[in-house]
Symmetry: C2
């Protein structure tokens, strides 16, 4: 077998406690190399007759990515500690892999083995339980509904009368959201992720001017309180957007630095290279993505840290928000996020902390920082498979397996899965305006471990290219909404709530993924109840043998296309 | 090439900032597979003419373990952020490896690449600078010197008159250490690691009774203050042993639980399974290594945490100690250690935090917990090679390369390297009483990146099997000391201080490692000065061609055997 392909990252990606009693351990081998894998394990201190007391437990094959097979096992170490290694059967041979290398048979000395020293309860990855039961809805407030035109910026054109541009306004506001909560209830969602609502210059509000003030075009603290109360009364959780990587250009401390230069008491709040501060030809201070309007905050500075942590706790204490989505979370230091978690969870233990990270996020998902990240790797795989037809069902299945083995499994239970956001083209546009494809994408979204998020308007068939196109005004005229798509989503949400085998607790497995036919069959299982999802993204009639599932009780829950 | 062998763990083992400007990136490939490796990198936000602006830099081959070749490169991202991938030349073909997989040529979209989002200064791994310049000396106080026989336990036999047992005493104390500081100064060491000195029952004191009191057999706060002052005056740093995983059986809170059971206010300070608490036939509470005398502390409990953090800060504030060595550090939760670091470094920023971990310690070396760990993997490799003759110089070189690529390179600058301790047989015993082998082992120890530690008595040729054998009384009669070995160690320490190419800042490389002859040639380089260490562990006369080094100025610094 190919020894070099085998890897195992202990106490990080590949071994972690599920609870104070259960340890999950994973290892990967080169695809097709291994027919059987066992975990060899024992308490580090338990010896009898000068022999280490070790046990063996078969691992189960848990999927394959493009290059690897994955093996997973759960054990319950009696004394919460374990040394372990792996034996693999490859053809006629058996090999043992430990922290120290490869052996013909399991080594005798515990020192050779991988170590999970102690399953301290505090280290169990714990996201708020309510998140698993949540179906999210993302609202870009400026474009959702104009509930109070007296707040709208001067010269605001009629709702939806023009295409969205990077700088125009349509007057969406908090009262507008509250007025339209019926729509959300009808759809069945129970969590709202709001892009920023604090005072800022732009329509997207990612250039904060005042972190303690509601944007006056959106409303005030009264309208916000009223909206959050209304949400909570109707069982909807509320998540805000924390833009802590950078401030806006008109954030008073930055203005003070512009004005007073090196004399400003805020000069260390940013990363200023030299004085006087200038914005052209290039900013001489760190920015987000070379945008002079977004000076990067120095989150290592004690005052900045204190200021931002005050912001974080203020909105929880005063407005009882349920979650923070962290903008550009990867560019802010880990130390800040650890303190952020400690301080916010101290006042609201079941606060949800969601990081915006598009790439591999393991360094933030060790339990000390975020509960979850935005699962764009899922988005990309799903769009490539169904919307764009770039990859086969077989490749899609491999991408899924890769994603599911990239983080400890408890992380996936609260993964924030999405098909699009204010930062991507809309799903219907990605799918070439093919509603059937969009439905199939939603089926994948709801089948995937974690929580689904619907971007406002996607449920009624809004279209739009990349920003600013994807930020169109919501369409409220029912005859201009795709009610069929809306009904389909309603059905999925109901299914998730009512069918245990489609619930957040159900396991997902890939039953069939054929590179030739592109047919994909997923199985969701919970408490011995199963649901099969058969997908034919070619949308040409194809027949397949469904004999792989045998059931005493069969029922077709959804049939489309 | 073998794609499956290639791995890269970003922002963890394989990419990390050396300072706020310099990023070091490493990747491993299957041994012999790749002739050339380049890093492909660019700022995530820098695009020109709709093309991502990317650069390429050759990586250098930095060693081989048994199965892998390692490649390393340093870059200086202008805006402290980078997306990157690797291209490999293997035979006639070139391949690109990114976070998303393998390509024939570098992909165009930044999303495909690995990400180091921002080099936040606070995340740079920083151990105290003084540690690099330290040569440690480990003292087991009960066995070093009896300076005040009035403190000795009743019936203490004459110094060294009996072999050490798990339970006997010889009266070593703090005054004894102070009286013998000349010996340390003569040797040249400048840091002492003391095994525990707090009130405890046993001779080793790992079963603490009172964390705030000096063991009465060792002295009192006056003798401790006097000793620490004397050390500091003579340029010697002092590190204490923090036994926080477990207390002793006679720790008053545990005694209270024994007495009052579930009524005790300390019942949650430990991990009690049921009441009443009993010790036989098996303890019904968590212990260290099934030792009922060592009940595991519940370091998740706020009171316990506060108590132990008080201990940690008390000895720094009141006695100005310079370091804490953390006993059984791996079994205590990460959350506790993060708080430990924050609280202790807040009052003494250059405190050294050293964890006792024998296995892979990456989860503790991310900058948020420890500065260093005890480098037993080095110990094992060095003993296997020189002392036990179990592995060839070639295999030793592979083990070294593995160790050096296991953690970010800044970690190695303060690695706590040792050939033995109170927990292992003594090095001279391991070497079959062959002093020449021991000298060669010390040469390796001093050549290795990090700081060397000498276990008391090893410098004058003490012998001893595993505990209790390795805890003999120090021999002070010069005619019974191996002064030749002592002089050799003096020479090494002087060399380390005086020769820049042998200093802690010098780089180590393996110039020659031959499986047949077992000859090993190491090179230490600093500021274009080089030193070659030629080792012949067979101790039979062998000739080798030294033409690989050419120098205008040659000088033989040490010649032995």
């Amino acid at each position: 077998m190919e020894f070099t392909a085998v890897s195992h990252e202990p106490k990080y990606r590949d071994s972690y406690a599920l609870d104070a009693q259960t340890l999950e351990i994973r290892v990967k081998t080169k695809k097709g190399d291994v027919q059987h894998a066992d975990l060899i394990f024992g308490d580090p201190y338990l010896w009898e007759d000068e022999q280490w007391v070790k046990h063996s437990k078969a691992m189960h094959y848990s999927g394959s990515s493009e290059w690897y097979d994955f093996w997973t096992v759960r054990i319950h170490p009696l004394y919460q500690r374990v040394r372990y290694g792996f034996t693999f059967r490859s053809g006629q041979q058996t090999w043992t892999f430990t922290e120290k290398g490869w052996y013909n048979e399991p080594p005798k000395d515990t020192d050779e083995y991988f170590c999970f020293p102690f399953m301290n309860a505090v280290e169990v990855f714990r996201a708020p339980k309510w998140v698993e039961e949540t179906v999210w809805y993302q609202i870009f407030p400026e474009r959702f509904h104009n509930g109070d035109s007296s707040l709208s910026p001067e010269g605001t054109p009629p709702w939806g009368s023009k295409p969205p541009t990077p700088s125009n306004f349509f007057g969406g506001d908090l009262k507008g959201v509250e007025e339209k909560l019926d729509h959300l209830i009808e759809l069945g969602v129970n969590g709202i992720y709001f892009t920023p609502i604090f005072k800022a210059l732009s329509n997207h509000k990612y250039d904060t001017i005042d972190y303690f003030e509601v944007d006056p075009h959106f409303g005030d603290t009264d309208s916000l309180k009223s909206l959050i109360d209304a949400c909570h009364k109707r069982g909807i959780r509320v998540m805000f957007d924390a833009v802590f990587n950078h401030s806006g250009f008109y954030f008073p401390p930055f203005q003070d630095v512009l004005k007073h230069g090196s004399e400003s008491k805020y000069k260390d709040w940013f990363h200023i290279k030299d004085f006087p501060v200038k914005t052209s030809p290039a900013a001489n201070y760190d920015t987000f993505a070379f945008t002079p309007q977004m000076p990067k905050l120095n989150t290592e500075h004690p005052e900045v840290k204190e200021y931002l942590l005050d912001v974080a706790t203020y909105w929880i204490k005063e407005f009882d928000i349920d979650g923070w989505r962290l903008d550009v979370a990867n560019e802010v230091d880990h130390t800040f996020w650890r303190e952020f978690r400690m301080r916010t969870k101290a006042i609201k233990p079941d606060l949800f902390i969601l990081g915006e990270i598009w790439h591999d996020s393991m360094p933030w998902l060790q339990g000390d920082q975020f509960d979850s990240v935005m699962n764009y790797p899922f988005t990309e795989a799903a769009l490539d498979f169904v919307a764009k037809g770039r990859i086969s069902s077989h490749t899609f299945a491999q991408r899924i397996a890769h994603i599911l083995h990239q983080y400890p499994s408890p992380v996936h239970r609260v993964a924030f899965n999405l098909l699009g956001s204010h930062d991507t083209p809309r799903v219907l546009t990605e799918a070439g305006h093919n509603v059937s494809k969009v439905k199939m994408l939603y089926l994948l979204l709801f089948a995937f471990p974690g929580t689904p998020c619907i971007y406002y308007g996607d449920e009624i068939g809004l279209t739009g290219e990349h920003d600013p196109g994807c930020r169109k005004c919501m369409v409220w005229e029912k005859d201009q909404q795709n009610r069929d798509l809306f009904a389909f989503l309603q059905q999925l949400i109901t299914l998730r709530k009512q069918h245990s085998s489609f619930s957040p607790q159900a396991d997902l497995s890939i039953e069939h993924a054929d590179a030739d036919t592109n047919l994909l069959v997923l199985k969701k299982t919970n408490n011995n109840k199963e649901i099969y999802l058969v997908m034919n993204p070619s949308f040409h009639s194809q027949s397949m043998n469904l004999s792989f599932f045998e059931s005493t009780h069969k029922e077709t829950l959804i049939e489309e296309g």
